[in-house]
């Protein structure tokens, strides 16, 4: 087994898991809302990008458009539907599921079963008898950049501090003059934009069809569930862990075992760590401070 292959495969998996999960993780971690329409949000981002690129917009700009379209959609949905359901989190799952259903079929009706696809930019890296797509290497760098950007946003900015205050204690935050309504809207829009970004980034490598969202769901849910309460740390850790497991098992036994190994890992982690990987880290930190 070529170690470079394994490294690329890991980086690729890491990027896919992190980018699949990050939008879902922000919305779930910050608001407690499980967005079952997450895959369809990604699909919208991919459509925005592909349609713009087909219309002659340069790819980077087309990706920005994809992100914006999804963010605007997230804003509208939050204002009209999601906000009515904050105190009914389980109902919000049903609502977002319905939104996903409408989006998939709506896109199908409006744009048909397929649209012309765009090709992957940036060419190839060749090494020995192997070669690898440069764009996919870029994707893993972008995944890290997204995590870093969110880290800065939520820990180093005024907005981030307000957002975290809102999550920890909405009543107190309100008493301190934080407009919690706006915080929720912003968080949902950020989550949507991240989903849109995922769609935009993967549009040149995947088949953009109305049902494409489902191919992100497994990774997204598994990563979120084993990540635990702390969104960024959790997503990073689960991207890392699942990425390694998937890369190893896929390389050793094939794609199917890669997937199954990942899912079984999820179940074991949930069973052993009730607060996910984040919880494990906190425990270790506590123990070290405590002793």
């Amino acid at each position: 087994m070529n170690p470079l292959n394994l490294l690329f495969l890991f980086a690729d998996n890491f990027a896919f898991i992190v980018l699949s999960a990050v939008g879902l993780a922000v919305i779930f971690g910050m608001m407690g809302v499980i967005n079952l329409g997450h895959g369809e949000f990604i699909m919208i981002g991919a459509y925005g990008t592909t349609l713009s690129a087909n219309a002659g917009v340069p790819l980077p700009l087309a990706m920005v458009i994809g992100v914006l379209v999804t963010a605007v959609m997230g804003f509208v949905l939050e204002r009209t539907i999601i906000r009515r359901l904050y105190d009914r989190l389980l109902d919000s799952m049903v609502a977002t599921w319905a939104i996903g259903l409408i989006l998939t079929q709506g896109v199908r009706i409006a744009l048909g079963n397929s649209i012309p696809q765009i090709s992957t930019p940036l060419g190839t890296i060749a090494y020995g008898e192997f070669s690898y797509s440069t764009y996919r290497v870029v994707l893993s760098v972008v995944a890290l950049a997204v995590l870093a950007g969110l880290y800065v946003l939520f820990t180093r900015t005024e907005f981030g501090i307000r957002a975290r205050a809102t999550i920890q204690d909405p009543d107190t935050a309100r008493a301190l003059g934080v407009d919690t309504d706006r915080m929720y809207t912003s968080t949902f829009v950020i989550g949507s934009a991240l989903a849109g970004l995922t769609g935009a980034l993967y549009a040149p490598t995947l088949t953009v069809v109305p049902g494409m969202g489902s191919s992100f769901l497994v990774e997204a849910f598994v990563a979120v569930v084993i990540g635990g309460p702390s969104v960024l740390l959790g997503t990073t850790l689960s991207g890392g862990l699942l990425g390694v497991i998937d890369a190893l098992f896929t390389n050793l036994y094939g794609t199917f075992f890669g997937q199954i190994a990942m899912l079984l890992t999820a179940i074991v982690v949930i069973r052993l760590l009730s607060n996910g990987l984040t919880g494990l880290v906190e425990d270790v930190r506590n123990r070290m401070e405590g002793e």
Partner: protein, 436 residues
Amino acid sequence: MCLYAISVSRMNDGRSGPSRRSFLATGGTVAGAALAGCLTGGGGSGGKDTVTLGILEDRSGNFALNGTPKYNASMLAIDELNDDGGILGKQIETFAPDPQSDNKRYQQLTRQAINEEQVDALWAGYSSATREAIRPIIDQNEQLYFYTTQYEGGVADSYTFCMGATARQQLGMVMPYLIDEFGTDIYTIAADYNFGQISADWVRVLANEHDANVIGEEFIPLSVSQFGSTINNIQDADPDFVMALLVGANHTSFWNQRTSAGLDLPFGTSTVMAQGYQHKRLDPPAMKGVYGGFNYMQEVPTDRNQDFVDRYYEKYPDAPYVNEECVNNYFSIKMYAQAAESVGSTNQEDIIAELEKGMDVSAPEGDISLQGKVHHMTHDMRVFRCDENHDIHVMEEHKIPEQFLSDTVGVNLRENDQTKQYVPADYFEAADATRE
């Protein structure tokens, strides 16, 4: 394996009254007297003023991309027949719901088509899974059924007519060509479900027959859309060509990914392009060097085909492509009409007997014929090559009959009724090789 024969015709008791079909008809062919209905038993309706065809094709859900052209082509055929005076002078009506790529829904709708709408013949389903889900219902009710997707082969069913090319016909066309052109080391990537597994079995059988070797084989779940390791594995194995038996939207992502990863090998396929017109949807050169063994692509360079393609786009100006299944639906409806005319009725038993005599069909792909004994078609098969500009070239062409059931298994549905699907693993050692 005919457990479902235990309670044959169970659905025929307590039949419902007048049918409510016609207001759903799509072909614009409603003949006023539809409400007359009929209460006669048997697998169909003899004395109506109209002929009812059931067209169950997906226009939403996972298979909408493949189902929609099938639906469109069926409607085109029916319109043309109606314009020519229908079948036996009766106008054709349709029962054409949208099963939404959901097999449960297919089962419900198949029952409805047979028991409530009393269709005279049924066209239904894209995937093999769908076919297998509804075949027990078809057989219980002795319903004449046309399955029009190209498929893994092996279905010997007294009520089912398989109109698509089988894996053996398709692979038997393209593989010898690729072995001649590029060499004998083959790497197979196949969708990890029945169709892919059996097709991969056929790749091994055909490799064996042509002194070639399958040096690597990989089965990829339908849900996978990331192919980094697959591409590595292919590069590692360094074959002369790859047989790609990929299915569905997720797998379509393979082509962009292999191009951007610089995997520049010849690919053989029985699935890609002819069904999902990837060469139209993807930016060149994603499909460069892909060779398909098909009975039909829109690009078939004949006047007869051009005429058909023109008519199709006249009715569906926004349609993206005329695919392989599209043509199978089209000619099989025409073939059914031909059989009904020569029998002089729409009695299903009579039509099945008539079809089992064999029949020559003039199809958009060419002049082909029905092998009555096995309910399959002898197709006009071609090797299509996709170049770097995504133009399609026909490299070779000849007629290939269904061989597995007729020669290897020795099925004769004229004489023996059955409802079984045979698999190559039971007949070929090469197909039964233990897999990794």
